[in-house]
């Protein structure tokens, strides 16, 4: 795992617990979440239609799309409720010196 792939997202206190922030890198959008047991990252756009998940609702381990209430598991990316049926891509996250990094391939 080379160090170069880890991209800094921001400081750990930039996200409230059970919430998320949007993070744009090059031409891609990601969502970075703070859950009770740590930080997680997924693609930032719903797999149903091209809608930003940053405006969605985080409840427990799930993110619910603000457009049609498609639900994804934040940790696995699994699409849990229609109309979303395609899984969401997830990314590894690490915290170093109060900074959040995600690994983008």
């Amino acid at each position: 795992m080379s160090e170069e792939n880890w991209i800094e997202v921001g400081s750990t206190d930039s996200i409230e617990e059970e919430d998320l922030i949007r993070f744009d890198h090059q031409d891609k959008t990601f969502c970075v979440y703070k859950l009770t047991d740590g930080f997680y990252a997924t693609d930032g756009i719903c797999t149903h239609e091209a809608v930003h998940l940053e405006d969605g609702l985080v409840m427990d381990d799930e993110i619910e799309c603000p457009m049609h209430q498609g639900i994804f598991n934040i940790k696995s990316g699994e699409a849990l409720s229609p109309p979303a049926c395609e899984d969401l891509k997830t990314y590894p996250v690490k915290v170093d010196n109060d900074k959040i990094f995600i690994k983008i391939d």
Partner: protein, 409 residues
């Protein structure tokens, strides 16, 4: 002995019910009888992304034939034209007879048709199914000035899509606002402005007197004697539950098939779900009929559980959406029983929501905003409604305060 379970109507409620039955009952025969020769598919994109060519036919199906095969759910393309509840039999046009032990009716709803005195029946188009959507999509390629009769959700979504296809669109609505009755006027006006800004013409408070064919075009005479020239007419003037088949039976009907909170009808072993059912909602303590995606899904699932013997009350808080241009409108709960209205936000770019409260508790809410801006708050509202929470009105009305503070864990 294996039970025969028949699902009449292969739409959204039907397919969700079938799969739920199978989850709880691995043995019974499950057969879906469907008039449309298509596996169950999503209707919402028909007026939106399908017309815009952003979604193709193959994107619309809920499940592939393999899923049905793996779950041993039979699907037969047949139209039923007679029922005998006493002997538990259904009859098809081709003389096939189907016997059931349990029956789910999920025949959906159908478009109301315009009553015109001249012979223009085949000239007016309607949108309910994929076949009609395909026809409209093909014909509009060669049309330029399109009139939509009816300013309800489906009419406006078609108007939005056709405008995005660079067509000149006129919407004629009989009422004094768009999406009448169920939507607050302030929200209807915001949506109307967006249509106008995008070049659509909206005519309110007008009735159609007469439609005349002039070569390949039409002249529409309105009740104020104004004349509209158009080359294509689509009507979206509301829908009625598909119950004709049951009118001469003793199945209790009243704006659809009357069901209790367990999806049971007035006849033993006969259930109904989705658009066709006028169901009892225990939370609101009244009957209601809904035409929405979320309801068809959840009601189908609930019916499936009850048919499989897992007694389950239907308590889902209503929710529906409409997408027009870059706007997403959402409605939750019921918005016609209230003693107070609270407004949150006033800029469509950040989202505008109206909450309807009774005794300091939310009964329903309606919001509109550019895509993504109202969904989270509307979703939280559904949860607050469901939990019957007494809400802090200060938080509701101040867009700077997050609504999830109101959810008690």
């Amino acid at each position: 002995m294996k039970k025969n379970i028949i699902i009449l109507g292969g739409g959204q409620a039907g397919i969700y019910a079938a799969r739920e039955i199978r989850q709880n009952d691995s043995k019974s025969n499950i057969k879906i009888l469907s008039e449309e020769n298509l596996l169950p598919y999503e209707r919402p994109p028909l007026s939106k992304d399908f017309l815009l060519d952003k979604k193709k036919e193959e994107d619309l199906y809920f499940h592939s034939s393999e899923v049905l095969k793996n779950e041993n759910i039979e699907f037969e393309n047949i139209s039923i034209n007679k029922v005998d509840f006493e002997n538990k039999k259904l009859f098809a046009k081709n003389d096939n007879v189907y016997s059931y032990d349990s029956l789910l009716i999920s025949t959906g709803s159908e478009n109301k048709k315009l009553t015109l005195d001249n012979n223009l029946k085949n000239d007016i188009y309607y949108l309910r199914n994929l076949e009609e959507a395909k026809k409209i999509k093909e014909i509009v390629l060669n049309k330029n000035k399109i009139t939509i009769i009816g300013g309800g959700f489906i009419g406006l979504e078609i108007a939005s899509s056709l405008s995005q296809l660079q067509k000149k669109v006129i919407v004629i609505e009989i009422g004094n606002q768009l999406m009448g009755r169920i939507i607050p006027k302030q929200i209807a006006d915001l949506v109307q402005n967006t249509h106008i800004e995008n070049g659509n013409e909206i005519i309110l408070n007008k009735q159609i007197e007469k439609i005349t064919k002039k070569n390949d075009d039409y002249e529409i005479l309105l009740n104020d004697n104004s004349l509209i020239e158009t080359d294509f007419i689509i009507a979206g003037i509301g829908s009625t539950p598909t119950v004709k088949l049951f009118e001469k039976t003793n199945l209790k009907l009243d704006n659809g098939i009357v069901t209790n909170q367990f999806c049971e009808t007035s006849i033993k072993d006969v259930y109904a779900a989705g658009d066709v059912s006028n169901f009892y909602h225990p939370f609101y303590e009244r009957n209601m009929r809904l035409e929405s995606y979320q309801h068809a899904q959840n009601h189908g699932i609930c019916a499936g559980k009850n048919i499989a013997g897992v007694k389950t009350e239907y308590t889902s808080i209503p929710w529906m959406w409409s997408d027009q241009f870059n706007l997403n409108l959402q409605l939750t709960g019921i918005c016609d029983e209230y003693d107070e209205i609270i407004e949150r936000g006033n800029d469509i770019n950040n989202g505008v929501i109206y909450f309807f409260l009774k005794n300091n508790k939310i009964r329903g809410a309606c919001g509109v905003g550019i895509i993504g801006k109202v969904g989270r708050d509307i979703r939280i509202t559904s949860k607050l409604t469901e939990k019957d929470t007494i809400v802090d009105k200060q938080i509701l009305s101040d867009q700077n305060l997050k609504l999830n503070k109101l959810i008690q864990k």
